[in-house]
Symmetry: C2
Amino acid sequence: MSAPTRKLKTEGDFRARLDAAAGDIDDLLDALLSEQRQSGEIQRPMRLLEAMRYATLGGGKRLRPFLVVESAALFGVARSRALLAGAALECVHCYSLVHDDLPAMDNDDLRRGQPSAHKAFDEATAILAGDALLTFAFDLMARDGVHSDPAVRLALVTGLARASGLGGMAGGQMLDLAAEGRFDKSRKQPGKLAESEIATLQAMKTGALIEFACRAGAILGEADAAARSALERYGRAVGHAFQIADDLLDLEGETAVMGKAAGKDSAAGKATLVATLGRDAAAARLTALIDEAEVALAPLSQDTSVLRAAARFVAGRRT
Amino acid sequence: MSAPTRKLKTEGDFRARLDAAAGDIDDLLDALLSEQRQSGEIQRPMRLLEAMRYATLGGGKRLRPFLVVESAALFGVARSRALLAGAALECVHCYSLVHDDLPAMDNDDLRRGQPSAHKAFDEATAILAGDALLTFAFDLMARDGVHSDPAVRLALVTGLARASGLGGMAGGQMLDLAAEGRFDKSRKQPGKLAESEIATLQAMKTGALIEFACRAGAILGEADAAARSALERYGRAVGHAFQIADDLLDLEGETAVMGKAAGKDSAAGKATLVATLGRDAAAARLTALIDEAEVALAPLSQDTSVLRAAARFVAGRRT
């Protein structure tokens, strides 16, 4: 199961690695969220389990687990351990998509080209499936299989909670909804936040979990402070790049490619750096962030070619 | 801060103890969810923090934290540690109330006599506040202040996740919604579940977290297997009694006393043992469950008078 980090020769090499991790995560989530696995352990309200499976097994690049796996690989962490921690992050990511798609939130009927969870099931089931996935993430992160040392698992539990809650993803979604002007009817120009406000919003909403994915690898590998800090800096740059690339894609993309309605975010008055800076300046910022990600990795003595390719891949989502 | 378990002389003694724990939990949650505390640590989307405070600081008997504190006190656990673990459980309980009240779920406009969170704020904010409270619960449970041994905190994280997720509270709410017949339009008589099905549903929806509150005290106290098992059995009986008492209250209570619309659950076709067994048989079951709770405690050598009074108090909610 171990796939040691090695020098990448081609872009195809990177894609193969990314796809392999995605396949492993798909299999792992499928097994973890199967009826068989849990029979005897707990009661199984089948409708809820089906909705949780629908929300997690519908594809996706599994970028966050990939970043956990590749960051952890720098420190020789067993792949199976990093995958289990990565599955926990992916459950948080998938719960956030289910809740963000709800009518009261972003009201998206499509997700990855398929009906979003509340369309495939119903709103109540989607709310509960999100809740149960978030809860399951902490169940997974606390398992023996993640690391033999309880203190390490506990550090991961804490990191996951902080990246996901009030000061992270949930808080960022709150700021994002506020930026639409929906809580302040007197606001004339929703979406017109200052650049620094948008950066904060996005760092919380999508950046925090991506940064934590990279930090989780360092925690799993019991890396020293310098290495942990390098991966945090790398993760912040990649998280930021991810969001700008996503916003550019929303502006330029085709619905068929994206699996959701193109232009929807800008139409909704979502606060984006692309809207504030303009397309060209945003693209330049993206290039600078890839450089920043590479610079962040420089202090590490390990071969970081996979992580460098990951930063380029994330930024390249706009093409 | 320590309040050692002692023989109770009167019912008033018990209420004073219950109220003292509730006051401590109110103060603790207020401090944990204050802006000051978190400034410098994290960004603070104020609207979300306000909604989290609204959902947690609006009163309530704090039964779950009380059970943690009193179970833990049997083993000499410091009160401050049990309170912090209890606050984590209370965050889970409060999140579940916010989400259950949503229009797509039970559609309740009132909670403890006040507008429920989605009425006081809005649906999106209520969904996010629930999400952030659930996340915060795991943040709290993982903190040093809960126990010095990471393995103990990890056992509590796991227990909390299992009590709250697919196999516990969230799963029970799913079964409860299904029992209304809302996912099966051909179903003629919603609410007409078999007695064992209702027992399972209620054991998951409300029983699991109450049982875990009692078990958490034993985990914190590093109790031996026999003591842990005694508290689990006690917790199961109390959780079951709680639900029957609640259903009797729904049938008999006045809206002003309950802080929510009386008769609403039965009108909604909620599956209850009271509806299935009838009022008298349900009341008899309640009495049997108090006995069961007392019998469960018998193997313990400690003074369990507070826990015995707690069982009677829970059952007495119908009067």
